[in-house]
Amino acid sequence: MTRWRGADRWSRDAVLYAWVMSMTVMRVAPVAAQVAVAPGDAPPVATVRSARVPRLEVSLLGGVFGGGDLGSTDANLLTNQPVSGQTLLFTTRTEITAAPVVEGRVGMRLLRAVWVEGGLSYAQPELVAAISRDSEGAADVRASSRLTQVVADGGVQYRWSGRRVAPFVMAGGGYLRQLDDARTTTATGSMYYGGGGVLVRLAPAGRGWIGRLALRGDVRAAWLRGAIRLQDERGPAVIATAGLTARL
């Protein structure tokens, strides 16, 4: 611990970083940590204050899964003519509708500004096929089926710390599972996302439990692969959530 005595030569950030890293060692290897804080070897004041910097946080979020267009498909018959052509029987345009989403996320601070996060989200969007232009005049129909969609993901977050407001950017990916209304089909795939958001502390740190709470809002562009799809490639869906984050 002799290096801590030389802390006055370091930048404040460097001290904080060193302390966070030592805290990590404490959690992972308690025996080593006891040695690190042995009596008579107390850290400087600045580093004691930094010990309050939280390392874990839990977020409960609600918001909207934005859905997306899955494209159009025609039902065609082969035309009776010497050169083959196609006759439209009817056409469909399919989409996944926007739906409420609830999400729980757990974050862990790895570096001064870098957090890793894991999340679990749940939504029930609808797959809707708008059927039209029937050749025999059938009424247009919106045929739908409700999906149950669960995503388990992991990602990385880079956060700019301020006194009360901490903007961040995030990116990650995870496992996507969709179950249809009749519970006969379970389709799995993956989801990748990128986006950003902001954390706003409800009170300055050190104000008891309220100092550990923050409002969080974020917006992500999510690319769904596999699972229930019409084309191999499809555009991103927007996911917007907001909620409360508790720092532990």
Binding site: L70, T73, D74, A75, N76, L77, L78, T79, N80, Q81, P82, S84, Q86, T87, L89, F90, T92, T94, L127, V128, A129, I131, D134, S135, E136, G137, A138, A139, V141, R142, A143, S144, S145, D180, D181, A182, T184, T185, A187, I228, R229, L230, Q231
Partner: protein
């Protein structure tokens, strides 16, 4: 003791006995109250003999080549195990109960609307096919040209249709027609097994479509077919009462593939099998695009309802079934 009975089927105006639990239309036979799918015994190729004469402007050699290509097309379905073997030629006319499957030209000028026909001999104990004979009406002008020939019917297209009957398929209702004089003209078709042929000059009937492929694969499935496809079952009702003879079509939202079937009992029950997994929508229409008897026997077929779609989309499970689907239709 094997008892054989002849079941006569005329391809373009077919009289059929249908199996209630099937997609498309598989020929069936009722044995002790149970419907049995007509099919060739498993494990061996179906052997056929070609007529040695030409007809309708096609030579014997051209006839054999065209028939060979049509058989090859059905054999090429990757999810079906049906196989064929040619066993030479014959000068004999097709004959029942001789255990020889003959495909040949025949002079049948009295059948002025029949391009070809398939007849069966069936073991009425087991339902197995014992024999099938096909004739092509030499009274019509035929062509085997690669791109077809104006004014002549494409032999390969009609042979592909007749061989569909030979393997046990009935007629598909995937098509649209218009009334012309006292008959009907096909406008478009979604299956080789549609009962009305394309016009002279067209070769569109050579290509098997999704409904044909699902049908032959359902009768002669390879090891993976049942596990790799799924089905939808349910009822078509009008005012709460089952509709007999409704044509139900599943359209796959990913590929656009169309696979049809029929409600074949008084409860309006249907089963669409051989569907690719994934999202589908269902369309129901009356059998009003052809002579009803060319699809299903019996006077009970209800054509008094409007074309309709199910308001639900469905996800066909791989190797499973979506049960209890109810589709309401209303009278015209």
């Amino acid at each position: 003791m094997m008892v054989a009975r002849r079941v006569c089927l005329i391809a373009l105006l077919a009289a059929t006995s249908a199996v209630p639990t099937s997609a498309y239309l598989k020929f069936g036979y009722t044995i002790t109250g149970q419907s049995v799918v007509l099919k060739w015994p498993e494990g061996r190729a179906v052997t056929y003999v070609l007529g040695s004469r030409g007809g309708g402007g096609v030579s014997a050699g051209e006839f054999g080549d065209a028939i060979g290509r049509a058989f090859a097309r059905w054999e090429a379905v990757p999810t079906s195990t049906i196989r064929f073997t040619q066993a030479g030629t014959t000068t004999r006319a097709p004959s029942d109960n001789d255990n020889v499957n003959v495909l040949t030209f025949a002079d049948r000028p009295e059948l002025d609307r029949t391009l070809g026909a398939t007849s069966y001999t069936v073991d009425i104990v087991s339902g197995s096919l014992l024999e099938a004979d096909v004739f092509f009406n030499a009274a019509f002008p035929w062509s085997v040209d690669t791109a077809g020939r104006p004014g002549r019917f494409d032999l390969e297209s009609i042979a592909t249709h007749e061989i569909g009957h030979l393997v046990g398929l009935g007629h598909s209702a995937l098509g649209e027609t218009e009334v012309v004089g006292s008959g009907r003209r096909v406008l478009a078709a979604g299956a080789v097994m549609f009962p009305i042929a394309f016009s002279p000059g067209s070769v569109g009937g050579r290509r098997l479509q999704a409904d044909d492929i699902a049908g032959v694969s359902d009768i002669y499935p390879d090891g993976a077919f049942r596990q790799s496809t799924g089905s939808i079952s349910g009822r078509v009702v009008k005012g709460g009462v089952g509709v007999f003879g409704a044509h139900v079509v599943a359209m796959h939202l990913r590929s656009g593939a169309l696979i049809g079937g029929f409600t074949l009992d008084n409860s309006g029950a249907f089963v669409l099998a051989g569907l690719a997994p994934g999202p589908v929508v269902l369309r129901v229409e009356p059998l009003d695009d052809g002579d009803v008897a060319s699809f299903i026997d019996g006077p009970r077929v209800d054509v008094d309802f409007r074309v309709a779609f199910s308001p639900q989309a469905f996800f066909v499970p791989r190797g499973g079934n979506v049960p209890d689907v109810i589709i309401d239709v209303v009278a015209k």
